[in-house]
Amino acid sequence: ADVLVFAAASLTDALDRVATAWSEETANRAILSFAGSSALARQIQQGAPADIFISASVEWMDAVEASGDIRAGTRRDLLANTLVLIAHGRDVSPVTIDETLDLAGMLGDERLAMALVEAVPAGIYGKAALTALGLWDDVAPLVAQADNVRAALAFVARNEAPLGIVYATEAVVEDNVTIIANFPPGTHAPIILPAAMTAESQSPAAEAFLAYLSSPNAREIWAEFGFIVLD
């Protein structure tokens, strides 16, 4: 049977691997539709025929749950991610992020690339962390906000911006950037990617796929891409 999965775009490559593995093991098929969490959530609210929804933000999963579009009891926190500070180039020395870091000074008149700080989860988390550390006010005028984490990463990779804040999962696979610091866990709310089955799901295999996402095989793949698997 086919399972239609609506998943946040930042999961694209990892989930592809998981789905392929599942197909090989079970002869079922997972069809993956990647887009921004907001678009997917709205589509589910409008009756999209999705079976599984994996959101990049807790808020959108909350919204879908509130409108009664996910099956009660199926929601769980699937994955967690970490936020990192990256710099352009290969051999950049690491720094420590705390209240004393002169982030604005490191930038000079150049830009700090982030995802949209009011709208896209990675941006929201990043802003929260910098605010908690008391750095936000200084760097705010220097932030270049991209519409998603990947576009922010591209700015740093092309050295349009020397520094950026992205998910660790994104940073590890890009050759032209170096992770120079991890944000301390307490500086922002946990970065959680929840998953759930939709209320209207008809697929008999949906539940199985949702379960498979936490299976040992899947865990291995998630870890390979830098995700932390929650339970």
């Binding site: 775009a9 539709s33 887009a35 678009a39 709205r42 409008q46």
Partner: protein, 236 residues
């Protein structure tokens, strides 16, 4: 060699290419009659609400595609205020089908199509239409035998513009009908998906090249047709 070309893209990518062609073709062809009608009305008639219609036609151009997609979702989604009746009365479901992608592409391309055709209509000398009238041709016939052939280059230009736009349309499509492989994953959506993957640039690049080739072919065709028509009118 042919096989090498075929293998150059994976089956999922070929699927996206085929889907894009189908979506763009139908988006263009199905909206053409309405496009000609609206262009004619805007060019030649005056009626109350004309400016409103004109504005409405241009709306998809002005609004960010995401907004257009969102409005389409609200209107034509399965639970949308139009969509639910379409399904109940006619059994037509647009959301999350390729037909929905075609609707999104058609809506996005509509202003371009109408503008081109309208300009062409405005360039037709009304004296020729009047002459046809004196020979006994009723207005509809005048339109078909005089106006239509004379605006053919404009129609071709408008249609190709719309087709090209449909081939490249992304924001409204993904917002309205999502990004479901084989159903609604057009070339731009597939390119988007590739761009989300580190190292996916190469695969995206291949699809970009395919999109360019398709659009170029369409452009060549339109130039060719337009030139032939122009030559016929010039005499010979």
């Amino acid at each position: 060699m042919w096989e090498a070309a075929a293998n150059w893209l994976g089956p999922a990518e070929w699927q996206a290419v085929r889907l894009s062609l189908r979506v763009s073709f139908w988006a263009t062809v199905a909206s053409l009659p309405l496009g000609i009608f609206v262009a004619y009305a805007l060019a030649r008639w005056s009626f109350p609400g004309k400016q409103l219609l004109n504005g409405l036609v241009h709306l998809p151009l002005i609004l960010p595609p995401v907004v257009t997609g969102y409005l389409l979702l609200i209107a034509f989604g399965r639970r949308g205020f139009i969509g639910q009746y379409l399904e109940a009365w006619f059994g037509i479901v647009l959301s999350f089908r390729w037909t929905g992608a075609a609707v999104a592409a058609a809506v996005m391309a509509f202003p371009l199509m109408v503008r081109a055709i309208r300009l062409a209509i405005e360039a037709v000398d009304p004296k020729l239409e009047a002459a046809a009238g004196t020979l006994g041709a009723p207005p509809a016939w005048v339109f078909v035998t005089v106006t239509l052939p004379l605006i053919l280059p404009g129609i071709v230009a408008g249609a190709i513009l719309a087709f090209a736009k449909a081939i490249g349309e992304f924001g409204a499509t993904i917002t309205f009908v999502s990004n479901i492989p084989g159903q609604t994953q057009t070339m731009p959506s597939a390119i988007y998906a590739f761009l989300q993957v580190p190292g996916g640039g190469e695969a995206a690049g291949r699809l970009v090249i395919v999109a360019i080739v398709i659009a170029m072919a369409a452009l060549f065709l339109s130039e060719f047709i337009a030139r032939r028509v122009a030559k016929r009118v010039a005499g010979g």
